[in-house]
Structures are given as structure tokens and as C-alpha cells.
């Protein structure tokens, strides 16, 4: 008898790929994280309606799905932009001036870590140590590493991504 008080507005009906993933894990509460990871990878974010569907199919309380989705930062509860921009904030990069790099990215995109711009062009994340400490500070766009970055070079790099 649970009435829908909050209307879903995500237009996610009939997404075969997502439904396929949900079906694969139906009845397996232990597979919650696997299911959400695959859907995040496929859809680039987790709409609330999808979380509800996953919770129902995997027989976990909605609050648990919500807790996992909000706990782990690889899950996004809002749509992501076309390009993901990371500034490594590991310790070595920090000592090499990553903070100035972050300021520059914020200045150019107007975004704080975790945010996406209004045209869905960039999502900006401040990532943790990505293991390329020797060539820091680093800017990573769509998985491509740009090492030995300076604030001056940031604009050129970002310009290449529509």
C-alpha cells in the first residue's frame, strides 16, 4: 500500500541494460554493491527510481541501498557530465602544489569537488592518490593522466574536451 508521494522524474523506464543487470542479481541481497557498480558504470549515475527497483529485486531495505549509494563516492546520485576531471589530492601531489591546481580548475569550471556544470560538460572530483606520485601534481581527464601540471597549463588541457 505504499503510495508514491515523491514522483520519479528521471525517465528511466524501459532501460534494458539496467533491467538486465537487475535481473542478473534478483534475489541476491549480497550482490547489492556489484549491481550498483554495474549500473553506475552503464548509466553513469543512480536515479532514485533505479535504487528502489534494485532494493525491491535484491530484497534489501531501500534505506540500505540508499546508505550504500551515498556512502561510496564512486556512486553518483546525480547525473554526471560528459567528462570527468580529477585532480589528484594524494600526499605527494599535495606537497607539489595540487592545491593551486584545484583552485585553477575551480576557477575555470566554476565547480567544487563532486559537482557537475549546468551544460553537463564536466564533473569535477578531487581524487585520492592515483599512484603516479613521481609525476605530480596530476590532472586526470577521462582517465588520461596529465602529469607535471601547473595552473597555467590547466586551461589548455580542459579546452580539448567539449
Amino acid at each position: 500500500m505504499s503510495e508514491r508521494i515523491i514522483e520519479g522524474n528521471d525517465g528511466i523506464e524501459g532501460n534494458d541494460a539496467i533491467d538486465g543487470i537487475i535481473e542478473k542479481y534478483r534475489g541476491k541481497p549480497g550482490a547489492l554493491i556489484h549491481a550498483l557498480t554495474e549500473i553506475q558504470h552503464e548509466n553513469r549515475w543512480l536515479p532514485r527510481e533505479v535504487l528502489q527497483k534494485v532494493a525491491d529485486a535484491l530484497q534489501v531495505p531501500f534505506s540500505q541501498a540508499m546508505q550504500i549509494a551515498s556512502f561510496y563516492k564512486t556512486f553518483s546520485l546525480t547525473p554526471k557530465g560528459r567528462h570527468e576531471v580529477h585532480v589528484c589530492t594524494g600526499m605527494t601531489c599535495h606537497l607539489s602544489g595540487a592545491a593551486k591546481l584545484q583552485e585553477k580548475v575551480q576557477e575555470l569550471t566554476g565547480l567544487k569537488p563532486g559537482e557537475t556544470d549546468a551544460e553537463s560538460r564536466f564533473t569535477y572530483e578531487a581524487g585520492s592518490c592515483l599512484g603516479s606520485c613521481s609525476i605530480g601534481p596530476e590532472l586526470i581527464v577521462d582517465g588520461k593522466h596529465h602529469g607535471r601540471m601547473t595552473p597555467e597549463k590547466v586551461e589548455d588541457v580542459l579546452k580539448r574536451y567539449e
Binding site: 541481497p29 549480497g30 550482490a31 547489492l32 554493491i33 556489484h34 557498480t37 546508505q67 550504500i68 556512502f71 561510496y72 563516492k73 564512486t74 556512486f75 589530492t89 594524494g90 600526499m91 605527494t92 599535495h94 606537497l95 581524487g127 585520492s128 592518490c129 592515483l130 599512484g131 603516479s132 606520485c133 613521481s134 609525476i135 605530480g136 596530476e138 582517465g143 593522466h145 596529465h146 602529469g147
Partner: protein, 556 residues
């Protein structure tokens, strides 16, 4: 690749592989490790590939794209053989000359190592200062192997230790050898691996698990990724031997979601090992069954903590459990689970193959063997190195690392990322080992060594580390969650000139209570960096507070 169904079949195949290889044949290895990759080594590799074709030399030179060579900030790295000639900062345009010279057995002088002060050149790896002070038992093979090619691992002796364990030793004998070697955990705990194995082995449950902790969340540590990406088979071999000793049927490799190259290499290694009969049912015809699954983290630091990691494998949020519920007795799905770090597992084939006596001949009294160190920060030479335990830090920072660049003086050395600590440079003669460094307040953790120069703000370092941890806390217990927030507030105030006289007293209380009262290691060690700062750099803190009050920065 045929399925190998006995130890003899393995040796036959290995002999065939070696027979087809000529150690005197020219070879070129291009590094595709994380840093070199970031410096576009892919373009360099493509250039070599094209050049070799152009010079019609495909049959005259063995060309490989390998994992991390170690000298990360001088990449893209290329090693030419025979003779291990190291070329640095190689560009795609250099490929033609390197290929031509390598075929003739000559050296491209302009691309070899040159000492920044004396100008002295060194062409061979054994002469390059960065390499010559190392003992590269675990990572030495990486430049010789294509990580996606199991034959390359067999050519350097791979899986011989596994065969020896399965056919010439009982599980008990394997366990005793590892105990005798005093192999201590390389992930940060330094706990004797043999004892952990024994607890898991003796637990009453029949179902047992073994796990590779490849999470490597420690900031400034990148050697586990280098190991897993460059030679996943070595880690896998150690895991299978461990499973045999412990009596586990299923293994897990838990690693990061953000390294697709590493994931590909591990998956390929698992598939190839299984195809060859080195993994899966009836390994090498021994009757021992063992399978391995890969799991990825979901982007949070705490999931590197062993009990949290196990909860993550079960599909739950990574909330750690208190240490008195030992995971070696009750771990994943409450079954005995033995978790060890990547480097710890990588040592196992060496210990079984060469013996515990050999292993204990290396290192110091209580810390045996070698240690992988990720050397970075304000240092001339940075990358992944391997040295015997007991090596003085001076050797690492100055002889290998080349000291601090730009004529600056070193100030401090930091170990262990956000859960470690630092020592002032005056203590640089301390040896690299578990217990001594722990007593000095800078436990070596996973081995990430960060050199800090004279301009480093020690208040900012402590503030930054707490800022990192605050975001990674799971939030369950008060001393960690609230303690860190309050410490961060005070440090930010001190840094920005708003420090007050009673701040140091509040910090002392907070560090003590957070260490004693937190549920897990993250909370318990979160204040360790700050503690080491207050131990060695208290005057810097006091001066900043005094300067703040003097400038009228007193709040309220």
C-alpha cells in the same frame, strides 16, 4: 599452451620456452607503468614497434612492453639488452636510433643516466646509482616480462616454487618454512604472516579463504600497483602456495576500481594460469583445487582495512569490526579468512624456492627480507625501489634518491601516509625496519617514503592528512568521527593564525582519546601523524600560535 598436469610437464614446458630463447639476443623493454604511462610511454612503445618493422628487425630483437621499471620520474623508461642498458626520458623520435644501436650492441650515449652534479654517465643498470644500491628480488624481473605472457614468467623460474610446495612439501612444511622465515606483513601491520596463516589453518571451519589486499589506499604508496601490474603471476603463485598451506579452497584479489590496466593484467594472469592447469581444479595434477575471484573496491580508503574489506567482499558497507573478533577465525561470511598484502604474498615463492635460511640472511634482526619502498616527494630520483630491511634511510634518501632538488635542505621524512608519522632529517641514519621506525613515531606502513624539504609547513601537513581522513571515516564511532573533525578545526585555526594557547592541550587530549577509544585502525592511527609532529616539531606549532596571538588573531 597445453594444460600442465604434473611437475615434470611444467619443467618440460619451461625447458622448451628457454630453449627457444637466446640470452645473447638483443631485447628492448618499454615501461608502461603508471608514471611512464602518464608521460605517454604508449606513443614511445608504438614508435618502437613501427621502427622495428621498418628496420625489418622483428626476428632480430625481442620487443616487450613491460610493467614498472622503477625510475618513475625519469620516464619514459626503456631498457635495452643484453647488459640492461637504461635509457631515460625517451621520446618517440629516439626509437630509430635505439633500435639501430641495440642491434649492433652499441649504446646511445645521449640518453643514458647522467649524474646531475658530476656529469658522470652510467649506461648499465648495475652502475646507475638509483638501481645499484637496491636488491631487486621481487621487482627485478618486471623489466624482463610482458605481464600478459605467462611464458615470460616461466622463463624466469616462475611456478617452480609452487611445484616444489605441492609435490615435495606437506602443507605443514610450507607453513613452517614461512614461520621460520619470519615473513612479516608488508601492508602496514608488520604482523608475522606465518602466525596468521597458522591461526587460519587451525580454525575449526572447513571452508577457508585467502585474500590479496591490493587496495593500496595509503597516500604516496604505489609499489603494490607496480607489482600487480608488472608481475601478477608472482603474487598469484604466492597466493596458491599460501592456500595450500592453510587449506583454503577459494581466494580473492581485492583491488582498486580506478586502474583498468592493472585489472586487465590480473584477469589475464588468472585466465592463463587456469588454462595451464596452474589454477583451478587439480593443480598440476596434485589433487589440490583452488580458484580465485577478483573484487574491486568502491572508492573509499577504509575498505583497505582488513575486516572492512571482508565486509565489502560480502556486499556490505565497509564498516570495520573490532580486532578482538579475529578475521583469521571469523572473516568473510564468518569463515576463517587469511588476508595479506600484495608484497607479502609476492615474497612467498622466493621463501619456498630459495628457503627460509636464505630469506633470513637478508635484513635486520627482527625485520627480514627486502622491502618495496615508494620514494617520492622533494627528492631528485623518485619511483619504486627495493632494498634489504635494515638499510639506513640515508642510503635511500641520498644515494638512491639523490637528495633534495634545487639546492634545498631536507627537513623531514614521512612514512605511512595518513596513518603514519614523520621524523626530522637529523634521524636519517635510522635503519628501515618495522620496530625501530615504530618507536621513533614513524612506522613504515606500506612503505611510502615521502621526503620533505625545508619549506614544508608541518602544520599544513598534519592538517592535510586529517582532512583526507575525515572524508574517509565511516562515521560509526565517536572518537574517530568527532575527534578528527575537532582536530582538523584546531589545526586549520592554527595554520591560519587563529591558534590559541590551549589548543595544544586540546590536541593532546584529542589525540590520546582518538587513539584509545576508536573502533578500528583508521581511527586509532588517525592522530599518529599529528603526534609525531608534536613530538618533533612542537616549536613550529608554538611559534605559529604565538605569532597568531601577537598579530591579534585571537578569536572571541
Amino acid at each position: 599452451m597445453p594444460k600442465l598436469e604434473s611437475a615434470a610437464a611444467l619443467e618440460d614446458h619451461r625447458a622448451k620456452v628457454l630453449a627457444a630463447r637466446d640470452p645473447a639476443k638483443p631485447c628492448i623493454a618499454v615501461c608502461a607503468g603508471a608514471a611512464c604511462g602518464g608521460l605517454d610511454s604508449a606513443a614511445v612503445a608504438a614508435a618502437f614497434s613501427a621502427e622495428i618493422n621498418k628496420q625489418a628487425a622483428a626476428s632480430k630483437v625481442d620487443f616487450r612492453v613491460t610493467g614498472c621499471h622503477g625510475f618513475c620520474n625519469k620516464g619514459p623508461n626503456v631498457i635495452a639488452g643484453p647488459g640492461d642498458i637504461c635509457y631515460f626520458e625517451v621520446k618517440p623520435e629516439d626509437a630509430a636510433e635505439i633500435v639501430a644501436c641495440t642491434l649492433k650492441g652499441e649504446v646511445v650515449e645521449r640518453l643514458v643516466y647522467k649524474d646531475p652534479i658530476s656529469g658522470e654517465k652510467a649506461a648499465h643498470m648495475s652502475e646507475v646509482p638509483f638501481y645499484k644500491h637496491q636488491m631487486r628480488i621481487l621487482i627485478g624481473d618486471i623489466p624482463r616480462m610482458d605481464p600478459m605472457c605467462i611464458d615470460d614468467y616461466l622463463a624466469v623460474g616462475g611456478y617452480a616454487a609452487l611445484a616444489k610446495a605441492l609435490f615435495k612439501m606437506t602443507p605443514d612444511q610450507v607453513l613452517e618454512e614461512v614461520k621460520k622465515a619470519n615473513l612479516r606483513g608488508r601492508g602496514g601491520g608488520g604482523f608475522p604472516a606465518g602466525l596468521k596463516w597458522e591461526t587460519t589453518r587451525n580454525a575449526p571451519e572447513k571452508t577457508k579463504y585467502v585474500i590479496v589486499n591490493g587496495h593500496e589506499g595509503e597516500s604516496a604508496a604505489f609499489m603494490d600497483r607496480a607489482m600487480l601490474t608488472g608481475n601478477p603471476h608472482k603474487v598469484l603463485e604466492g597466493l596458491i602456495i599460501g592456500a595450500y598451506a592453510i587449506g583454503a579452497q577459494q581466494g580473492f584479489i581485492y583491488t582498486r576500481h580506478d586502474s583498468p590496466q592493472m585489472a586487465r593484467h590480473i584477469q589475464a594472469a588468472l585466465a592463463q594460469a587456469e588454462d595451464c592447469g596452474l589454477l583451478g581444479k587439480n593443480i598440476l595434477g596434485s589433487g589440490f583445487d583452488f580458484t580465485v575471484e577478483m573484487h574491486f573496491d568502491v572508492g573509499i580508503f577504509v575498505s583497505g582495512e582488513s575486516s572492512a574489506l571482508m565486509r565489502s567482499i560480502e556486499g556490505h558497507p565497509p564498516e570495520p569490526r573490532p580486532k578482538y573478533i579475529r578475521t583469521s577465525v571469523s572473516g568473510i561470511w564468518d569463515k576463517p579468512s587469511n588476508l595479506n598484502n600484495v608484497e607479502t604474498w609476492a615474497n612467498v615463492p622466493e621463501i619456498i624456492g630459495r628457503g627460509a635460511d636464505w630469506f633470513t640472511s637478508i635484513g635486520s634482526e627482527k625485520s627480514k627480507g627486502t622491502k618495496l619502498v615508494s620514494l617520492s616527494g622533494h627528492v631528485v630520483n623518485s619511483g619504486v625501489i627495493e632494498v634489504p630491511m635494515g638499510t639506513p634511510l640515508r642510503t635511500i634518501v641520498f644515494d638512491i634518491g639523490g637528495g633534495v632538488p634545487d639546492g634545498k635542505a631536507p627537513k623531514a621524512i614521512h612514512f605511512g601516509g595518513a596513518m603514519g608519522g614523520c621524523i626530522p632529517i637529523s634521524l636519517v641514519d635510522a635503519p628501515l625496519d618495522f620496530d625501530g621506525m615504530s618507536k621513533l613515531g614513524a612506522p613504515i606502513g606500506a612503505g611510502g617514503l615521502l621526503v620533505m624539504d625545508e619549506d614544508t609547513d608541518m602544520i599544513e601537513v598534519a592538517r592535510y592528512l586529517l582532512d583526507f581522513l575525515v572524508k574517509e571515516s565511516c562515521g560509526k564511532c565517536v572518537p574517530c568521527r568527532e575527534g578528527m573533525v575537532q582536530m582538523l578545526k584546531i589545526l586549520t585555526n592554527i595554520k591560519e593564525g587563529r591558534g590559541r594557547k590551549f589548543d595544544l592541550e586540546r590536541l593532546a587530549d584529542l589525540t590520546e582519546v582518538t587513539s584509545l577509544g576508536s573502533l578500528c585502525a583508521l581511527g586509532k592511527t588517525s592522530s599518529d601523524p599529528l603526534k609525531s609532529m608534536l613530538r618533533y616539531f612542537k616549536d613550529e606549532y608554538e611559534a605559529r600560535i604565538a605569532a597568531g596571538s601577537a598579530a591579534g588573531g585571537l578569536a572571541q
